[in-house]
Point group: C2
C-alpha cells in the first residue's frame, strides 16, 4: 500500500523545460544540483576544443553539442554562434524543443536561504515564470502575487491582472557580478545580503541582465535571447548577456511582456580574473555609454508584432545607428539577422506561427 | 573625566529635520519612539475639533497647530488645507523651516528587524536621503551605495554618480497599506516579510506613495508635497498621499531627482475600518484609472525649471484634462495654485531663489 510519503511528486514543468549549460570542463558542479536538476533534460553546449571530452555525472539526461555539431547543424549560419565565449549558450536555446529554458553557469552552486535551507533555484524561477508580472505600475510590496502580499492602496484595479512573464532573472550570493574595474577596486567584496523579493523591472526601464542564473519562456521571447558575437575573433567579451538583456527588454516592453528580477539566489563560487575581464570588457565599457541611450530611445511599430519581426527591426537600427561607433556593430547586426534565420529554420512552427499572428499587443503563440 | 561611553553622539540632521505628525488624539505613541525622536523638533498638525487638547508626552520639543492656527496663519488661503483628513499634515511641511521632513502616522510603532533589533526608522530615512538615487538605470543588486553592494557589470559608468535623492518612502510590517476592497477580501493578511532592500523607483515609473512613513528633502521637492483636498466637504479621501506621490514623481523625473522606496519598516498597528475606507475611496478607485494615465503622459518643458513652476503647470493640466472627469478636479487644481502661493508666502527665500534659478535640469537651491 502506498503511504503518502511514497507518492512521487512530479517536478514542475518536468517535460517543458530544458536546462542549458555552456562549459569547457567536466560538469562536476551538477552533483550539488542533482536533487533539483536530475528530473530535467540538460542541453550542454561545449565551448572551445571539440575533441575534448566533457564528463557529465551519471544519471543525468542530456544532449551535448560541441563546435563541430554546431557547424554541422547550422552550416554557414553557424557564424552567428560565438566561439570561446559562454555566449555560445544561446545555441542551446535554439535547439531546445521545450517551452521554457533555464540557463546556469558551471561555477554556480546551490545557495542557502537565511534559515539555512538549500535553495531550489529552478523551482523559484518556475514560480516566477508561471505567475504574472507588473510592468505598468510599481508595487511597493514587490511581487503582489506572492503569498502574504498583494497590490497596495492606489494600485489601479485595471492593471491587477498583470502581464505574461517572459523572463526571470536570478541573483548571486558570494561573488557578485561586477565588471573588471569594480572587481579590481573591491577584490574582497562578497554579496551576503539575501533580499527576499521578486520584482518586475518596470516598462521603459533597462537593466543589466546577467546570464549566470536566468530563466525564460522560449515561446514568448526565445528569438530575442541571442547572446551576440563575443570571444574568439571579436573585439569584446562579457557583454553577451547584457546585449541579450537590452534587446529582450525593448521587445518585451513593446509586446507587453514582463521581466522579473530578484529571487532565486545561486552561490557564485569563483571570481573570474579581473585582468582578463578588463581586456574583454574595455570596448564594452566605452560602447555601452552609447548603446544604452540607443536602446532607451529605440522604438518599434505596430507592424512589429512578433519577436522575430521586432528583432529584425532592432538589427536594422543597430546597423544604422551603432554601426557608426564601430564596424563591429555592422557585423553584429548581420549576425542578429542570421540568428533569426537559423532560429526559424530549427523552429519552423514558431516561424510560421509568428508570420501568421496578427495580434499587435501580444506574443506569438505556438 | 569623560569616558568614551559618555561622549554624546549628536543624532544625524538634528537641527535640519522636522517630524510632522497629523493627529486627532493624544500622542502616546511617541513613548515608543522616544529614543529615536526626542532629539528632533516635532510639528504636530491637529485635525478636527480645535478646542480639544492633544497631550504630548513630556520631554518632546514641539509646536502644535490646530485648525484655528491654520486659518489665522493662511487666511483665505487656508482653503487649500484639508479638514478632517490626515491630508492636513502638509500644512506642517509648509511651516517648517528645516531642510528635511519626516512624517509618520500616530498608529505606527517601532518595528523589529529579523534579528530582533528595534529599527530606527528615522535614521534609515536620513541615510536614504543623504546618499544618491539611481533613477536612470536599474541596478539588480538594489542600492549600489549601500555597504557590501555596488553597481553590477553592465551599469554605465557615466551614471554611477547617481542623482540627488528627494524622497524616501518607507514600508510597513504587520498591517499592509491596502485599499478597502483588498482589506475586505483579506481581512487577516499581515505583512511579515522583511525585504532588506532600498531601491530607486526608476524614472518614468509611477508608484503608490503612502504617507504613513515618509521622508523628503523640503528644499528639493517640498512644494510638490501637497496632499490635496480630502475629507470634510470633498468627494474623496485616502488619496492624499497618492496625489502627492504622482505629482512629486512627475516633477522629480523632470528635474532629475531620485525617489527611493523600501527600508525602513515601521510597525503599523491597526487596520482602519474597510467600510469607512470604501466610502472615502470609491470615487478614487474609478478616477485613478484616468488619473494615472494622465500623469504617465504629463510633460513639462525646459522653462519649468523649479518645483513651483512645475507644480503650477501640472495644476493647469489637471484643470484642463482631469476637470472633464469631475468638477472636483477644477477645485483641486485651484487649490494646487493656492498651495504654491501660500508656500511662497511662508517660504520667501525659497520663492525668490526658485524665481531666480536658471538651471534646467536641477532643483531650486536656497
Amino acid at each position: 500500500m502506498a503511504t503518502s510519503g511514497s507518492v512521487p511528486i512530479t517536478p514542475a514543468l518536468k517535460d517543458e523545460l530544458d536546462i542549458v549549460i555552456p562549459t569547457i570542463r567536466n560538469l562536476d558542479f551538477l552533483e550539488m544540483w542533482r536533487p533539483f536538476f536530475q528530473p530535467y533534460h540538460l542541453i550542454i553546449v561545449q565551448d572551445g576544443d571539440p575533441t575534448r571530452t566533457i564528463k557529465v555525472p551519471e544519471g543525468f539526461d542530456y544532449e551535448l553539442y560541441n563546435r563541430n555539431d554546431i557547424n554541422r547543424i547550422l552550416g554557414p549560419k553557424a557564424s552567428c554562434i560565438s566561439f570561446k565565449d559562454s555566449a555560445c549558450r544561446c545555441f542551446g536555446y535554439m535547439v531546445s524543443k521545450k517551452k521554457y529554458i533555464y540557463t546556469i553557469d558551471d561555477d554556480c552552486f546551490v545557495a542557502k536561504d537565511p534559515s539555512g535551507k538549500e535553495i531550489n533555484a529552478l523551482e523559484q524561477h518556475i514560480k516566477n515564470l508561471l505567475c504574472p508580472s507588473t510592468p505598468f505600475f510599481f508595487n511597493t510590496l514587490y511581487d503582489p502575487y506572492r503569498e502574504g502580499a498583494d497590490f497596495v492602496r492606489g494600485y489601479p484595479f485595471s492593471l491587477r491582472e498583470g502581464a505574461k512573464t517572459a523572463v526571470s532573472h536570478g541573483l548571486w550570493l558570494n561573488i557578485p557580478d561586477y565588471d573588471a574595474p569594480t572587481q579590481m577596486v573591491k577584490p574582497l567584496e562578497r554579496n551576503t545580503r539575501y533580499v527576499d523579493a521578486v520584482m518586475t523591472v518596470p516598462k521603459g526601464t533597462l537593466f543589466p541582465m546577467c546570464g549566470m542564473n536566468l530563466a525564460f519562456d522560449r515561446e514568448l521571447i526565445g528569438p530575442a535571447m541571442y547572446f551576440g558575437l563575443m570571444g574568439d575573433g571579436q573585439p569584446i567579451g562579457r557583454y553577451d548577456d547584457m546585449w541579450a538583456g537590452w534587446c529582450m527588454k525593448v521587445i518585451c516592453d513593446h509586446l507587453g511582456l514582463g521581466v522579473k528580477t530578484g529571487l532565486p539566489y545561486i552561490w557564485h563560487s569563483k571570481a573570474s580574473n579581473p585582468f582578463v575581464n578588463l581586456k574583454k570588457e574595455y570596448n564594452g565599457i566605452f560602447w555601452q555609454e552609447e548603446i544604452i541611450p540607443f536602446f532607451q530611445a529605440a522604438t518599434l511599430s505596430k507592424d512589429h508584432d512578433t519577436v522575430q519581426k521586432c528583432y529584425i527591426e532592432l538589427a536594422k537600427q543597430v546597423k544604422e545607428k551603432l554601426g557608426k561607433i564601430d564596424g563591429y556593430f555592422v557585423k553584429l547586426a548581420d549576425a542578429m539577422v542570421t540568428w533569426i534565420e537559423a532560429w526559424d529554420e530549427l523552429n519552423p512552427s514558431s516561424a510560421s506561427a509568428s508570420a501568421a499572428t496578427t495580434a499587435t499587443n501580444g506574443p506569438a503563440k505556438k
